[in-house]
């Protein structure tokens, strides 16, 4: 793992009305790191990902991608987050990718077009280069026979693999995954987790919100336990699974007994 910091979040806070979903989240992610985020429902895990991927605007704190500020707190700490200009903000999309729980593939595009078109839109190279890269990704993900299929013709596991290929085709620095297997049955979950393990071996930087504790333990360099909008505990998988914190123990115990 290199020391290059891809993402710096300091004192991130976010409320929806009276509901303070994120209170004070600080997080650095280094190149090649795999970070798993676990925690009960409603703890703010998804909101954290949505703020990081600019689907929501955070209220307070700062965030930087590869040293480039997205928003800065005026007081340098937990104060109101001041975002950079809109035109500059759009360029930040190159630093990250997001895989959704329910895939959100484009239903009117074939598998290949789903992977190719975003890269074309972003001017990632010539059409030939982009197609070759997309096909290489799809082949690697076991979808070589599915170039011309439409999302509605695929299993959930296949759809999720396409959506991971779609995100990686843009060569993002960090890949965020928001409960990537929650919409899948156990068999299909296993097939997607296998792929994610391969990506972890390739040292693709990932931040994964998941309820699959065994998977999190196996692939991640670091696990964060989030509850009530705060990072309650973080550490290596071994540290977390042997945590003395009662809440963490309860949560892990509950999920593992399933």
């Amino acid at each position: 793992m290199s020391q290059e910091t891809l993402l710096e979040i300091e004192h991130m806070s976010k409320a929806f009305g009276d509901n303070q979903v994120l209170k004070d989240i600080s997080l650095d992610v280094h190149k090649g790191e795999v970070v798993a985020i676990i925690g009960p429902s409603g703890s703010g895990k998804s909101t954290l990902l949505r703020c990081a991927t600019l689907l929501e605007t955070m209220d307070g704190g700062s965030m930087k991608y590869s040293g480039h500020p997205v928003c800065l707190a005026e007081d340098g700490k937990a104060g109101p987050a001041k975002y950079i200009e809109k035109n500059e903000l759009k360029k930040m999309h190159q630093y990250f990718g997001l895989v959704f729980q329910n895939f959100n593939l484009f239903p009117h595009y074939s598998v290949l077009k789903n992977v190719v078109n975003p890269a074309l839109i972003n001017g990632m190279g010539t059409k030939e280069e982009i197609e070759a890269n997309a096909k290489a990704l799809l082949d690697q993900f076991g979808l070589a026979q599915k170039y011309d299929a439409y999302p509605c013709e695929l299993s959930g596991g296949q759809q999720q693999r396409v959506s991971i290929a779609r995100a990686l085709a843009l060569k993002p620095g960090i890949l965020f995954l928001d409960e990537p297997t929650s919409a899948l049955d156990p068999e299909l979950t296993a097939e997607v987790l296998k792929l994610l393990k391969e990506l972890a071996k390739e040292h693709i930087t990932m931040i994964i919100v998941t309820h699959e504790l065994g998977f999190a333990r196996e692939v991640s360099d670091r696990i964060l336990f989030i509850e009530g909008g705060n990072i309650v505990e973080q550490g290596t998988p071994d540290e977390l699974f042997n945590s003395q914190n009662q809440r963490v123990r309860d949560f892990i115990g509950k999920l593992s007994s399933h």
């Binding site: 991927t53 759009k90 009117h108 509605c152 995100a167």
Partner: protein, 217 residues
């Protein structure tokens, strides 16, 4: 009047009906999209004005709207109504009326597209316009086709309302011949023509729907 002359005269009327039909679609289909955007605008003034517009267009008879558009310039500005304005008035009234209906259909279609499609496009670096053009619009078209087909079939029959301002489309012609020769045969023939017209329209729309059947939403 013999049958052959009747058929020819009705045929000429049918051509006028077809012109109303085609020009109305040409203007109302895109105009409906503009109105739909106005209706969904976050600007309160624009969305309220559009809402009132749609409400009036849908809440009053098209026949009355025709009369207002046709006679309005004279009543309001004392402008002389030229003979060629008759046809133009029909196209204006029909386009404004149908745009309101199409707008509501489009709005329903646009609002039915899951939020996740916008979010995926945004994260993948699509601009707002690219998202609409590449991702949303194609799916909206597929979704609204059955409702649009309904409106288009109604439009074929509604062209007969141009009768209200005595434009010589098929129904007007049929009514004149019928009155002159004291028989309803010309009206029956006109009915047959409308029916055949709609058979062609339905077939055409079915082909378009088939074209979009390659994927499911």
């Amino acid at each position: 009047m013999d049958l052959q002359t009747t058929l020819i005269q009705l045929g000429q009327g049918l051509w006028v009906s077809f012109e109303i039909f085609a020009l109305t679609l040409l203007f109302a289909l895109p105009l409906g999209m503009v109105v739909a955007f106005g209706r969904m605008s976050s600007n309160k003034i624009i969305s309220t004005l559009t809402k009132i517009y749609i409400s009036i267009m849908r809440g009053t008879p098209l026949m009355l709207q025709l009369i207002v558009v046709y006679f309005g310039p004279w009543y309001m500005f004392r402008m002389r109504i030229s003979d060629s304005y008759r046809f133009i008035a029909v196209i204006i009234a029909f386009s404004l009326n149908y745009a309101a209906y199409f707008a509501e259909i489009y709005r329903g279609g646009i609002e039915s597209i899951p939020k996740g499609q916008y979010e995926a496009a945004q994260v993948l670096g699509y601009s707002k316009w690219q998202t609409f053009w590449h991702i949303i619009l194609p799916q909206v078209i597929k979704r609204v086709l059955p409702s649009v087909t309904n409106e288009i079939i109604t439009l074929v029959k509604d062209t007969s309302l141009a009768f209200a301002i005595a434009l010589a489309e098929m129904f007007t012609v049929a009514k004149q011949i019928s009155a002159a020769s004291s028989t309803i045969v010309p009206l029956m023939i006109a009915g047959l023509y409308y029916y055949l017209f709609n058979l062609v329209v339905s077939w055409g729309m079915e082909q378009i729907e088939k074209h979009y059947r390659y994927y499911k939403i």
